[in-house]
């Protein structure tokens, strides 16, 4: 019995190995986009590439959250996709694990053919002189505001600073409407970014950890505390919001101002024409020390364990070919921000609904700011240490001083 089992296993393993060694196919894991058009275009582009190069391209469209267990299983089993989408945090994490290829030659050749890519998007994935991801698209968080409600309260322009934001939010709150639609649930990745942006705009940060309890952070936290506790301009459930919480609040009319990526714009355009007309979009408010936009950038990368590197590189070049890419990225505007500097002047990016997004790119700051991003910064983000700390400070369970010093300790532990 044993011998039969062993030989069967050996047989299957060798058969599978042969299948993989075939140059006949590559696998591409891509983040599922909100826009159906974009998803379809990706699949068609893959088909085209397949025809032109006589290979089979397996495209998997995967929702972002679902990537994590899949990546782990792929890396551990060696059954990795040849090309995969990655957010910049994952590039950092996987680079530290030594599983990603250095793609700087590929990036160079792509830029030679198609023009320069935004430098701010290349920095976070450059380590030790090598670049580990090809920029594919960026995303930005902006301020959405109800033009009609603001006008009624006497405001003609959106808030430009956080202090203004507080004043306006207070005036806008009442009758079931809340001026400040921001929340801190554990499932809330938006909040992790937004809180950092606020801290950074006050000159504060999480790096080095010693800075966490310094004055700039205290000032920024006090502003938030004023919003939540003193003015009560945030919706009651905000402390438990996941990423869809602010969407719900804005779409239902509960919140007059929210912060989000471009996903709300398309939902408004398709399903809520009246609300769409009443919506204004602006860059995030600034703090005393300037403007900081939490950068979200997305890449295409190649695993070291890929068995078809030349094809993988060729496919990435095919996906970043400027004409096709320009068309693809347009259909995802304003959620997806183009990586080629020359595309920023396209008319699609000059409308009131899209300009704030493209303008944000130059102020992009990434996790770990003001220092260079390191994997521990990604872990701190994943653990939602900032959300936790702010949840307890905003709910009153801990004072600002205590909350920040607890956060400091946790960050120091995570950095070890």
């Amino acid at each position: 019995m044993n011998r039969i089992l062993l030989s069967l296993t050996a047989l299957t393993v060798s058969l599978t190995a042969t299948a993989h060694a075939q140059s006949g196919q590559i696998t591409f894991w891509m983040k599922k986009q909100l826009s159906d058009d974009q998803n379809t275009m990706i699949q068609q582009r893959a088909l085209e590439f397949g025809k032109q190069n006589n290979v089979k391209v397996n495209v998997e469209l995967i929702a972002y959250e679902n990537f994590f267990p899949k990546w782990s299983a792929a890396i551990e089993s060696g059954n990795v996709p040849d090309v995969s989408f990655f957010g910049y945090q994952e590039i950092g994490q996987f680079y530290a694990q030594g599983v990603l290829r250095d793609v700087s030659p590929l990036v160079k050749s792509i830029q030679k053919t198609n023009g320069l890519m935004q430098n701010s998007l290349q920095k976070p994935v450059t380590f030790n002189g090598g670049q580990y991801g090809v920029p594919f698209w960026g995303e930005a968080q902006v301020l959405y505001y109800r033009k009609d409600l603001l006008a009624k309260a006497g405001f003609k322009v959106p808030p430009r600073t956080w202090a203004e934001f507080r004043t306006m939010a207070k005036k806008l709150t009442g009758g079931g409407v809340y001026g400040a639609g921001l929340g801190f649930g554990k499932g809330n990745s938006d909040a992790e970014f937004l809180t950092r942006a606020i801290l950074w705009s006050y000159g504060g940060s999480l790096n080095p950890a010693a800075q966490i309890t310094a004055t700039p952070n205290v000032q920024a936290t006090n502003l938030l505390r004023d919003l939540f506790v003193t003015d009560k301009s945030t919706p009651p459930s905000a402390l438990g919001w996941d990423d869809s919480g602010n969407n719900k609040a804005y779409l239902s009319g509960q919140a007059a101002m929210v912060f989000n990526s471009g996903s709300i714009v398309n939902v408004l355009k398709n399903d809520y024409p009246d609300l769409y007309a009443n919506t204004g979009i602006a860059a995030l408010p600034s703090g005393p020390k300037g403007n900081a936009i939490p950068g979200i950038s997305n890449y295409l990368g190649i695993f070291k364990a890929s068995k078809n590197v030349p094809l993988a590189e060729k496919f990435i070049s095919y996906l970043t070919e400027k004409n096709w890419y320009g068309d693809w990225i347009k259909r995802g505007a304003p959620i997806n921000i183009p990586v080629y500097t020359s595309l920023a002047s396209d008319p699609v990016w000059q409308t009131p609904y899209t300009k704030p997004f493209i303008d944000s790119v130059k102020s992009f700051k990434f996790l770990g700011y003001p220092q260079v991003y390191k994997p521990a910064d990604g872990e701190i983000y994943n653990l939602r240490l900032v959300n936790d700390a702010f949840q307890s400070m905003m709910s009153g369970s801990s004072s600002v001083a205590d909350g920040l010093s607890t956060l400091q300790k946790k960050v120091q532990d995570a950095n070890k």
């Binding site: 499932g187 009651p236 438990g240």
Partner: protein, 311 residues
């Protein structure tokens, strides 16, 4: 042929005839071999791999180095870990007790002669048939302060003035996740116990009633003993599943707010797949092993001694 008494104990231990013993032994192994073989081939290696990895510093993509008990020691000094332990105990105890009580109630009710009984059985079974990920999204809506029904109903009944922060308040959040787990899990206990109830002969109840036994007495002396073992087993299996339950809490609160619902399974997932520290993540899971092993040993010993034809 032995006459059964009026209140027979369902399982009457009997001594097997000695000449059959060896035949029985061989037959037993033959009958068990498909199940055992399958579990051995598929589970043994993964299980041992997991156990071994918890003693290493393994991260996803990197080779593992043996580090002994270091993962466990670092957990012992991590207050987040202990909070997860407390939450796990709270969540599991709360959910299991509720499920067993309501499940038994459901089984008892469905065992009665009610009209359209089959129809009601299907209805009460439905919560279990909806995949967890969907139940969670639905309950998110019920708990929401925007378009959320639970708060709305309570407000209409004038029991509260403004929407309750079901998932936003650390104290309420645990109750909220338990509620979803219970809502989903009651049919499992209910149907399992019901099947046990159905196996109890109606004759026994009839005979007892002829003898003048009231409903409560019949419940205590016929019903309860009959389903005791099934209920206990169901309770233990439910406990194991609840202890390891991950989806419901992860999708509802991710372990928040302020780690109020962070249980060992969500902590383990974060460590292992978001932070790539798989060795540590498994160690977190292994921590529950002694308790689970004790539970399993207890219930298996008990079930076997009761139904064993020998001794």
């Amino acid at each position: 042929m032995t006459h059964s008494k009026v209140y027979p104990d369902a399982a009457v231990p009997r001594r097997a005839q000695p000449s059959k013993a060896r035949q029985d032994g061989l037959l037993a192994y033959l009958l068990m071999s498909p199940a055992l073989l399958y579990l051995l081939v598929v589970m043994a290696v993964p299980f041992l791999w997991a156990l071994y990895t918890s003693f290493t510093d393994k991260t996803i993509g990197a080779p593992a180095h043996f580090i002994g008990l270091q993962n466990y020691l670092s957990l012992l000094t991590d207050p987040g870990f202990w909070q997860a332990v407390r939450n796990t105990l709270l969540f599991t105890a709360g959910a299991v007790i509720a499920k067993v009580i309501f499940g038994m109630a459901m089984a008892l009710v469905l065992n009665q002669n009610i009209r359209f009984r089959n129809f009601f059985r299907v209805l009460l079974f439905l919560p279990w048939t909806i995949p967890s990920i969907v139940s969670v999204f639905t309950w998110q809506w019920l708990y929401s302060d925007v378009g959320g029904v639970l708060s709305d109903l309570l407000m209409r009944l004038h029991l509260i003035e403004s929407p309750l922060p079901w998932l936003a308040s650390p104290s309420l959040a645990m109750f909220s996740v338990i509620l979803v787990n219970v809502w989903r899990g009651v049919p499992f206990v209910g149907i399992a116990v019901l099947a046990g109830l159905q196996s109890i002969s109606h004759d026994q109840h009839e005979a007892a009633m002829i003898d003048g036994a009231g409903m409560l007495a019949r419940f205590r002396h016929i019903t309860l003993p009959g389903v005791r073992e099934v209920t206990l087993l169901t309770a233990v299996i439910t406990t194991i599943w609840t202890l390891n339950d991950f989806e419901i809490i992860w999708l509802l609160t991710r372990g928040g707010p302020a780690n109020a619902t962070q249980v060992l399974s969500t902590l383990s997932y974060t460590e292992g797949f978001l932070n790539l520290h798989i060795g540590k993540a498994i160690a977190i899971a292994v921590v529950t092993l002694p308790a689970l092993i004790w539970l399993i040993n207890y219930v298996t010993r008990r079930s076997l001694s009761d139904s064993n034809p020998a001794h």
